[in-house]
């Protein structure tokens, strides 16, 4: 590889590298420095003040709740869907496969709107839940539902290729030796797909913490009730409480960077596990 780099004109290569570094610098590095600087400019007390404010704590708690439920649901059902897609052949399988990718093609706003329409007065599911007095829109259930919708593909798209790669030989051997289905899954299949699942969990967590477009629509933006961390940043910016907005944004950015490092580690583990298999 290095021979190619040496043979081609050195200045041309340096130019391409420089263009890339400038582009990434302008789009990501400088803005990241900008947000740290703006958040901490008023002094460190702004961080403790903001993070101890009741509405900020409530918003962060709500974000954590939504993320935990979303990740639990999408991981559990994601593994089942991936399993069915890889190990079973049936009519409508390709349709099911297409449904998995649909959330990638839809705007988060459309996702929020879809949930809103389903449960709004006159919506298909409204009679059922209204009769039982269960609030979906402008409350936690709708916010969880839209976040699940958006995170559905992550775990499935990570686990499917690994299941395809490992094949059924080990599973068949385990079953032939008399192990139960559940035992086979736990001792044979799960160890093979664990890094793919971990990758999906980290990606879904990052995505659900950062979700804004869909919850903007279904939450109803009720301060202190349905305000997530991102919705808090949105309101604080609109209300010109800029320092507070930047502090919470900085916190979310820090969390997402940690998650990204975890994602990259899981990815490397996965590749190592695959190549050694």
């Amino acid at each position: 590889m290095s021979t190619v780099a040496k043979r081609g004109g050195r200045s041309g290569h340096a130019g391409i590298l420089a263009a890339c570094l400038v582009y990434v610098g302008l789009l990501l590095v400088l803005p990241l420095i900008g947000i740290v600087w703006t958040a901490l400019k008023p002094g460190f007390h702004i961080v403790t003040d903001t993070l101890s404010a009741p509405d900020v704590q409530h918003a962060l708690l709500l974000t954590v709740q939504i993320a935990v439920i979303t990740v639990a649901v999408t991981t559990f059902f994601g593994v089942i869907v991936a399993w069915v897609l890889v190990r079973q052949r049936f009519h409508g399988r390709s349709f099911l496969n297409a449904l998995v990718d649909l959330p990638f093609a839809l705007s988060p706003v459309t996702v929020g709107l879809a949930c809103f329409v389903l449960f709004a007065p006159g919506g298909w599911l409204a009679p059922f839940f209204d009769a039982r007095g269960i609030r979906i829109n402008f409350a936690l259930p709708s916010m969880v539902l839209v976040t699940i919708f958006i995170c559905i593909p992550f775990t499935i798209r990570e686990v499917v290729p690994v299941l395809e790669e490992i094949g059924v030989d080990e599973e068949d051997a385990s079953r032939t030796l008399g192990a139960s289905v559940w035992h086979t899954f736990r001792k044979v299949s799960l160890p093979n797909i664990r890094w793919a699942i971990a990758y999906g969990v980290a990606l879904s967590t990052a995505r659900s913490i950062g979700e804004i477009g869909a919850v903007l629509i279904v939450s109803g933006l009720i301060q202190g009730r349905t305000e997530t961390a991102t919705l808090y940043i949105f309101r604080a910016t609109e209300e010109r409480q800029t320092p507070q907005a930047y502090v919470v944004a900085l916190l979310l950015a820090a969390i997402s960077i940690v998650l990204l490092l975890a994602i990259e580690m899981f990815h490397r583990r996965q590749e190592r596990a695959m190549s050694s298999a």
């Binding site: 263009a19 052949r89 449904l99 649909l102 706003v109 991102t230 990204l260």
Partner: protein, 290 residues
């Protein structure tokens, strides 16, 4: 495709109404399949069907009344052209970044690779806030451009910057694996035979990565069409000027005009869907010719 054979053999042994000791396996298969189908139908298919029906259930009425609102067409046009520019920029820069990450060895290459992935993890709203902090009127860079008479924040420039940032990883991560598979020996052979770097790229490298570049660019475009989090804070949302289609849909919904919002949302979805179909067709036919 060897997998399908293996799966079939399991399926065959289970059977639908097979011998008694296989019935349990068949039931288990059906239960898992049923869970998967119900999960995806309830959570994905049903909401999407609801939006389509809401928007076009009464024919074109909702769509026409939505498009009669001031700034409606302007919003769609703005979203289309800013997404096109962002997709174009990232097609070029994303390919270059993938090239640099695969073929160059330099200090901080791993760091660059991690930074390129940042938009996958950072909340889009935080990206918007980052742009405000860096290019806003209170920052040195914003003031510098202001003095030149160029306004960045609250103009389409900020929208394009936001779209480029959030979709940065898409082309890179689409092209990178293909480049990794490509044997540098072919490029070296071309260079040995006297081809310049440009000819080598055009004749050897580009044909190999073309599909990946197109796929990544399409993904970027379709992602940009629906983007709201990074745009809503930096665009200013002025009707007819800097109001994008997703923000327009959001505004319609908060005014409880759900059917109009659904009509616009369906239009956006249709545009990206048709585009994906057309491009896969083009790629397939051009692939068949070579």
């Amino acid at each position: 495709m060897t997998m399908s054979g293996a799966a079939q053999s399991i399926e065959g042994r289970g059977g639908f109404l097979g011998i008694p000791h296989r019935t349990a396996a068949a039931l288990r298969h059906l239960a898992l399949r049923g869970t998967a189908v119900v999960y995806l139908s309830l959570l994905v298919a049903l909401p999407v069907a609801a939006v389509l029906t809401k928007g076009f259930g009464d024919g074109l009425d909702s769509f026409e009344s939505a498009m009669a609102r001031p700034g409606a067409w302007a919003a769609i046009r703005l979203t289309l052209w800013t997404s096109t520019i962002a997709a174009g920029i990232n097609a070029v820069m994303g390919t270059m970044l993938a090239w640099v990450l695969v073929r160059y060895r330099f200090p901080a290459r791993r760091l660059l690779s991690t930074i390129v992935d940042l938009p996958l993890a950072i909340p889009t709203l935080v990206t918007g806030l980052m742009i405000l902090a860096l290019y806003g009127p209170n920052s040195p860079i914003g003031r510098f451009f202001d003095d030149l008479g160029i306004r960045i924040v609250f103009t389409p420039i900020a929208i394009v910057i936001a779209l480029c940032t959030v979709s940065l990883p898409l082309v890179v991560r689409s092209v990178q694996p293909v480049l990794q598979e490509l044997d540098p020996a072919e490029e070296e052979a071309a260079a040995t035979l006297g081809a310049g770097p440009r000819t080598t790229f055009r004749r050897i490298v580009f044909p190999a990565i073309r599909s990946a570049v197109v796929a990544g660019t399409l993904l970027t475009f379709s992602r940009s069409l629906g983007e709201i989090g990074s745009v809503i804070l930096v665009s200013g949302n002025r009707t007819g000027k800097t109001l994008t289609a997703p923000v327009f849909i959001f505004q319609l919904t908060s005014q409880f005009r759900a059917s109009e919002a659904a009509a616009v949302a369906t239009l956006l979805f249709a545009i990206s869907f048709v585009l994906v179909l057309v491009t896969t067709r083009i790629l397939r036919t051009s692939g068949a010719r070579t």
